[in-house]
Symmetry: C2
Subunit: 421 residues, 2 copies
Amino acid sequence: MSSPVSINYSALGERSQPPTIARLMTLMLENPKLLSLAAGFTDNQTLPVPAVQAAVTALAKRAGEPEYLQYGTNQGRPKLRALLADRLLSLETPPDADTVRKNFFVTNGSQQALYLAMQVLCDPGDIVLVDRPSYFVYLEMLVGLGVQARSMPVDADGRIDAAGLSALLETLRTRGELKRVKAVYFVSYFSNPSARSLDESEKNAIADVLTQAGVIVPVVEDAAYRELYYNQPHAARSVLSLPSWAAFPKLYLSTLTKPFASGLKVGYGTSSDSALLAKMLHVKGHHDFGTANYNQALFEQILSEGGLDAQLAVIRPGYQRKMRALHGALTAGGLPALGWSWAVPGGGLYLWLTAPAGLDTGMDSAFCHACVKAGVLYVPGDLCFGDDAPKNFIRLSFGVLNETDLIEAARRFVGVAKQFA
Amino acid sequence: MSSPVSINYSALGERSQPPTIARLMTLMLENPKLLSLAAGFTDNQTLPVPAVQAAVTALAKRAGEPEYLQYGTNQGRPKLRALLADRLLSLETPPDADTVRKNFFVTNGSQQALYLAMQVLCDPGDIVLVDRPSYFVYLEMLVGLGVQARSMPVDADGRIDAAGLSALLETLRTRGELKRVKAVYFVSYFSNPSARSLDESEKNAIADVLTQAGVIVPVVEDAAYRELYYNQPHAARSVLSLPSWAAFPKLYLSTLTKPFASGLKVGYGTSSDSALLAKMLHVKGHHDFGTANYNQALFEQILSEGGLDAQLAVIRPGYQRKMRALHGALTAGGLPALGWSWAVPGGGLYLWLTAPAGLDTGMDSAFCHACVKAGVLYVPGDLCFGDDAPKNFIRLSFGVLNETDLIEAARRFVGVAKQFA
C-alpha cells in the first residue's frame, strides 16, 4: 500500500520508468517453463567457486590487519588498479601509458562507470552518438537521464558508414543541435547485442568524421567483452592507442564480471583525461565513496595468482561450445531457409538475428507472444537502437542455458518462425 | 596529462567538487605520523575474518549451482531481504508490516540509498530539511546535486526546537519557498556526527510541525548506527511505526557495514511507499542493476548463523572501551576546564565537541593547522551543518585507532587546546 500523499518527484524521478528487463523478468516469473535466450547472464556451471574460496583463504592467512574488510578508497585499491593497468598495457601500448596507468579506477561493474560518465557529461536534452545497434541498458539509462541517443549510421554489413555519419553531423549542425553532442559511445569487442567488433579503420573513421566536423567530445569505449573471445583476440587497439583519437578525451571501460564472476560486481576503467576522471570520482564519492573493498581484494589475489586467465581458459571454449549448440540447432532447424540470417561470432555471449524484412519481432508483437507461448524468450532487437529502430532484429543469449536447453530453446524458436514464415 | 580539449560538463559535472574527505586524506598522506580522529572507519582489530571465511566455505559446500557468483536482482536477494525485515520487525511493529517487508531493498552501503532517494525526489534548487548537525557526506552530496539543505532548529541541548521549526517553515512560506521543500532527513540513532539519538517526542514534534504547515513530504530516517549501542538500544521507534508520521511517505535506511564489515559494502532500507521505492529502483537499475550478489549471499549466511549478533557482541563493548579511552584522556588532560564540552555517548563512533565560543576550529583555522602540526587530525564541525554553520564544533572518531593511540591523540589534541586557551 502506498501512502495517499502524491510525491513530487524530480525531473529524473518523473522520467524513471520500469526497465524493459523488468518486463522480461516478469514474463519469466509468470512462465516458469520458459527457456530464456534473453538474459545476459553468464554460465552458472563454470563459475569459479574454488578460485574464490582460495582467494578468501589466502586473504585470511595474510599477515597484518584485515584491512580488506574495512572501507577502501573511492578510486579503488592501488594494487588492483596496477594489476588491471598491467593487463591492459599488455594488450596495447598507448602513447601516454603513465596517464592510463595513473587514471585506472574501479566501479560497481562497468555499468556504474557508464552512469557516472553520463552524469558528468550530459544534461537533459543533450545528445550522445551511439553504435547501431547498441547496449540496451545503456540506451535506457540515457532515456532516464533525459539524454538523446543518435545512432551512427552503418552499412548493410553493420560497418560504420563514414559518409552517413558525416551527413548526420551536418543535419545536426543545420538544426543547431551539433553543440548538444556531448559524447560518443560504442561497444567495440564482441558487442552486446551484435557480437560484432569494430576494426581500427571503423574507429578511425568515426574519429576522422568527428574531427572534420569539429566535434571533439569525450569518447566512451565499452570493452566489456574484449577478453571473451573464443580462439583469438580481436586485433584492434582501443581509442587509447589510436592516433586518430589523440585529440579526444577518452574513457575506456571494462569489467571483471563477464570474464570471471558477475556476482562480484567489479568493473574498471581508465581515462586519458584526468579532469574527466576527477569529476566522475567526485560523483562516485556521493554514490558510494568506493566499490566494496573486499571484492577488490579478492580480485587482487585472483589476478596475482593467474586465476582470471585460468577462468578464461575454461569459459572461452565453454561459450564457444554453447554458441555452436545454439547456432547449430537454429541452422539445422531450417531458420536460414526461412529468410533469417546472422553472423557466427568470434566471441561474446550473443547471436544477433535479422528476421525477414516485414516480420515484427518487437516486445508486443504476435511473434514475441507466440515465442512466450512456445516457451522461449528473447530480447527484441528494437530495444537496442538509439533511434529509428527497425522491428526485425532479435538478440539471443547463450550465456545461461546449458547445451541441451539451448537446443530445445532453438527448436521452439524455429517452430514459431515457421508459423510466421 | 589531460587532453588540451576543454570538456563541456553537465550542470552536475560543473557542481561536482573534490569532497572534504579527500582534503583530509591528503593531509593524512602528507603527514604519515598523524593520528586520525577524523576517519569514520571502523575498528580493524575486530573485523570478522573467521565469520566471513566460514560463510564463504558454507556457500561453496552448498548443493546446486553457485548462483551467488552470478548476477542477482536489482532489489536484492529475497532471502536476505526477508532476514533483514525479520530483524527490523523484531525491534518495532509498524502498522503496515507487510509493506515494510515487501519493500525491503539492498544497496551499495546506505550511501547509495541516500543518493537514489535524493535523485528521484529533488531537482536543483529544491530544499531538504536536515538535522542539526547532520551527516557531512550527505550534505556534500546535496551540494553536488544542487539541492539546498536547511537545518531544523535545535535548542541548547541539541533537541529539536518545534517552535523554531515552525518559524522556519513560516519564513519559507513567506518567501514562496515552501513548495521547494521535498524531503526531511535525519540520523536518528547515535548520530554521525553528534552521537545523539532522537527520542520519539522529537520525531513526533517534527511530524506535527510539518503537518500543521501542510508539508507532507517524504521523510528519510538514517538509522545507520541503530545497532551500535553499547549497553542498551535507544528505545525510540522509527518513523515507520510512529502514528505522527502515518500520512508521510517514509524511507528507513540502515547498513550492514558499520555493525559487521564496511569492506562488504551492503546497505539496506525499506519504504512505506511502493511508488517511491519503484522510482529509486528504476534509477538503481541504471546505476548498477543490483548490488554484488556474492556479498548479499554472504550476509544471508552470516545472518542465518547468528554471525551479525556475534560480531555485535564483540564490537559493542569494544567501541565503548575505545570511547572511554578517548573521553577519559580528554577529560584527564583537562579539556573541560578549558571550556570544552561534550556528551558521553551511549553508542556510535563519535564524540561531538563544543569548543569555547569564539574559537574557530574550521578546516583553515589556526587551531586546525596547529593540530596537524601536533600530529592529530579531526573533522571540523562546520562541515556538518546544512546552513548557518558555527565554527566551534569538532567531530572526533574513535573507530580506527587503538586505545594506546587514542590516548596519545587525545594528549596531542589537549596540548593544542591549551595553546589556544
